[in-house]
Subunit: 254 residues, 2 copies
């Protein structure tokens, strides 16, 4: 178990609401399970407030020490969402409006009839040199810079972002995934999906509602490709059933 072969991770949870007890964190457990599934050793978690100095210091400590760093929280539209500023400061890079992020947000806002304003456009500010992390739920992207992965604090969005970055991570174990666009809302497939999850405990099934699109992205993940394919077929069956019930035309073969 030399330090060369171990893949490690640190998690930084950012938010006054966690430290005051007003919001109970559930992201630590989700990131912990995610890392375990991928053979990544989550070695340390820190929780800090929405404070520039505290975020920069913790971030620098964790990113020097672990293979990967994940952060959750502080990337929303309000004044106390300063995670992007803190990450840019820690890396010593500017924080411009990112053209791609702005386009993603404006496309979603056009669908949902949401007004473009300065506060919302804060969410398009991305440190220079970072790659976007797709947010299939509400469009506002996270980003990766160096070994640091910056994600939303809202649990369902955080989990969708974990699914988005999973294929980019080198874990101790190769994990395969399949994404299925359900074409219906979560309520129409939640029951049968829970039954399938019980039948396939070795295949993790995530469900991510697509705000403003009326559909749900289902992500299946397993180290066992054969079981994954079997589970994916079963999920496609319940999706087809939900479509018939809703009077929707059958999905394409692919």
């Amino acid at each position: 178990m030399s330090s060369e072969t171990r893949v490690t991770a640190g998690l930084l949870v950012i938010g006054d609401e966690i430290l005051s007890g007003r919001t109970k964190d559930v992201n630590i457990g989700a990131v912990a399970e995610f890392c375990t599934d991928l053979g990544i050793d989550l070695t340390e978690v820190r929780v800090v407030s929405d404070d520039m100095g505290a975020i920069v210091e913790a971030l620098n400590a964790l990113r020097e020490r672990y293979t990967y760093v994940f952060t959750t929280g502080g990337i929303g539209p309000t004044h106390d969402d300063i995670t992007a500023d803190a990450v840019a400061k820690a890396f010593g890079v500017p924080l411009p409006i990112n053209v791609e992020a702005r386009a993603l947000l404006e496309a979603r806002w056009a669908q949902t009839g949401t007004e473009v304003n300065a506060a919302r456009l804060r969410m398009a500010r991305i440190p220079e040199g970072a790659d976007l992390i797709v947010n299939s739920v509400s469009a506002a992207p996270g980003f990766r810079i160096g070994n640091v992965h910056v994600m939303a604090g809202v649990p369902v969005i955080m989990r969708a972002m974990l699914e988005a970055i999973a294929p980019t991570l080198e874990g101790g174990r190769k994990v395969h995934s399949v994404a299925i666009d359900a074409g219906v809302g979560e309520g129409a497939i939640g029951g049968p999906l829970a039954e399938l999850q019980a039948r396939f405990p070795d295949v993790k099934m995530g469900s991510y509602p697509q705000m403003g699109k009326g559909t749900t992205e289902l992500v299946l993940r397993s180290a066992d490709e054969a079981r994954l394919a079997e589970a994916a077929d079963a999920v496609r069956d319940i999706v087809a059933q939900a479509h018939r019930k809703a009077g929707i035309a059958p999905p394409d073969a692919e």
Copy 2:
């Protein structure tokens, strides 16, 4: 808000099971609420594994930085419970069997018919110079040394220990408490107690089953003494009612 007048705290959660995701932490939220109630500013949380180096390093970082440090986890009877060892190492003191801790444990074990063995006696090892923190639930004590308060990881025991140390902490706000021995198990008063908690949102009501004793310690806490007294009377009423129902003689006036 100078650093002289602010009362701060750091929390160190210790345990592999949290970092693997097998156990979902609920102590962070409980300590956060506890600190908020007492006017203590919980400033940072760290989660580390059952690793000597990691515990000592995090402990030393937090205890130098904050008014109080709380730790949860790693004080049980098994080989991976090394928190007491790590705290003794961090403070540079020996870790002998503590006579008072041993007596507390042996008294409880006598009641419950539990065998005294070497593994269990690990729980009586307390760093030299530390004060015990009473564990009303299962007897195995926590301890305080310097500004560090070492508590169990089991949530109900952790919360009972928080109640035990509350009167010793200087918060930003004076909080009063009343302890009531219910004389019955939790099941006999849980329902009415929940109704009272809803009626008195400004009085925190904690319920701590006393293992092997068939009774429950109820702890009420509030900054408002008048409301606390009112709530305590109401709790004594439901306790008396539960006693009548169970055919127990009425409790003493006190």
